[in-house]
Amino acid sequence: MREKATTLYLGPQHPGITGNMMIRLKVEGDTIVGATTEVGYLHRAFEKLQEKRNWLQSFTLMCRFCVPETDPMEESYARAVEAIEGREVPERAKYIRVMVLELARLASFMLWYGGQNGSLGLYTMGQWSVGDRNYILDLFEELTGGRVYHMYIWPGGVRRDLPKGFEQRVLKTLNYLEKRLDDYDDLMFDNAIFKKRVQGVGIVNKEKAIEHGVVGPVLRGCGIKSDIRIDDPYEVYDKLDFEVPTSDGADIWARALVRRREARQSIRIIRQVIDMMPGGSVYNKIPNPQKWTLPKGDAYVRTESVRGEIGMYIASDGGLNPRRVHLRGAAYVHAITLLEDVLIGENIADVSAIMNSLGTCPPEIER
């Protein structure tokens, strides 16, 4: 006999959910037959606040959009403002930006390692990877003064030059992390429990990916080679040599394999950047921020974050403040329509793993 569908509220207070959001599940037994996401628990109205802030004050709001990885937003904002104004960025600043972005990616991957395993009840990985993530945050602290919010990449370059001997400390940390990534592989990808729980779960195939406008590792996990850093290169990514890993499985396992190889590519990029780093100044002075106006126009820039493409649209009316800033993160497409679609037919116990695998980050949706 078929059981009657029951409604189950997952979140906003739930240990397995990836942030402050809620999913209303319709379940028959243990199987999900319908899902509706409800978001808006983190809506701070950044875009409204920025209409009242000047161009430099807006920049401090930028990094607070989504916390696991704060630098892509700063970089997008800086690059969009530079595009509207036509401001040049010194070569050295571009290399430093790439280094910071890739360090942020690496830190975000470490958090993902912990989250993906924690969602399946494997807590050892969280102790390892989130603990090791602190070494990257220490570097950020030395460079920018903050562990999470850096406010370092600003229009015109970066805020200050690298401290003396910083490159060596980065390389030392990378050598350590590279060894640790092998340990993570032993713990995660050789783990029978992890394999059994994730293989064949949370399928996003090619057709679904195109229909839903999927981006980032989820798109690469279904065999489509797509990366903003290659397709629409920004900063100095076109001068760097790195691979875009793909996988054909289209399930959580495939996306985990993609991320595992991407973390190593990030290390490779940082090493290249440190080798190629030119000298010179790190920022072109901006005018007095109280009087700084941008010409009328708009710009749309895209950045590759760990979760996928981040798009930032900025319109200027020639005044002191942005006319309109609109940010779209990867979770904006992943966490609502795609998640509602993917969850159907899955088990309740797998919801958390699927959300982690799709890169659901609620603050990015709600801003």
Binding site: T36, E51, I336
Partner: protein
């Protein structure tokens, strides 16, 4: 094909089917088309199915309060040609109505829900729950330029007053370190 040829090719194709579309060229891989709102679904379908612009990257809305118009911008991306195309349209601010495009790309549904809530733009035939980010919101659509967020916050929420016993810390620093404040710093009073 280099970027200029791609752009010319694209303009020829779009112009042949949508003669009223007004193009604007930019440096790099960006091309703008200004169109009427009625042909938004058809031009997007044409770009997606015929020209390979398979990725809808963004839908943004700008409130031009002084001109009494909303500008809606659709940004599509072609992974083959590495080109961003902006489809822009202007609609009346008083009765903002737009055609719905969420049958072309499913994720457009989310963008449209947000525009409906934040700007009050109505999308004909949009099927989605009424509330997206806000709950029990009684005021005007908040992202419109004429909504004053600071006045609303002052009316609705408490603000913690500043401390009355707050001292000018610079005097304390001088007392401790016996250093003078430079003249240029004196004008930045607390």
């Amino acid at each position: 094909m280099n970027m200029q040829e791609i752009k010319e090719n694209l303009i020829t194709h779009v112009k042949a089917n949508f003669p009223e579309a007004a193009e604007k060229e930019f440096d790099g891989n960006r091309l703008d088309f200004n169109v009427d709102k009625q042909c938004i679904p058809s031009i997007l379908t044409y770009l997606k199915d015929r020209l390979g612009y398979i990725h809808l990257s963004h839908i943004a809305c700008v409130d031009w309060l002084e001109e009494g118009e909303f500008e809606i911008i659709f940004i599509v991306w072609s992974p083959e040609e590495k080109m961003k195309v902006f489809i822009r349209t202007r609609i009346d601010r008083e009765k903002p109505v737009m055609p719905n495009i969420d049958m072309i790309w499913r994720q457009a549904n989310t963008y449209e829900r947000e525009l409906r809530e934040m700007f009050g733009v109505e999308f004909i035939g949009l099927e989605a729950p009424d509330e997206f980010l806000l709950e029990d919101w009684g005021g005007p659509p908040p992202m419109r330029r004429d909504f004053d967020t600071e006045a609303y916050a002052d009316d609705t929420f408490w603000h913690r007053p500043g401390r009355e016993d707050a001292l000018d810390v610079r005097e304390e620093i001088i007392r401790r370190s016996r250093e003078e404040i430079p003249d240029f710093a004196k004008k930045y009073s607390r």
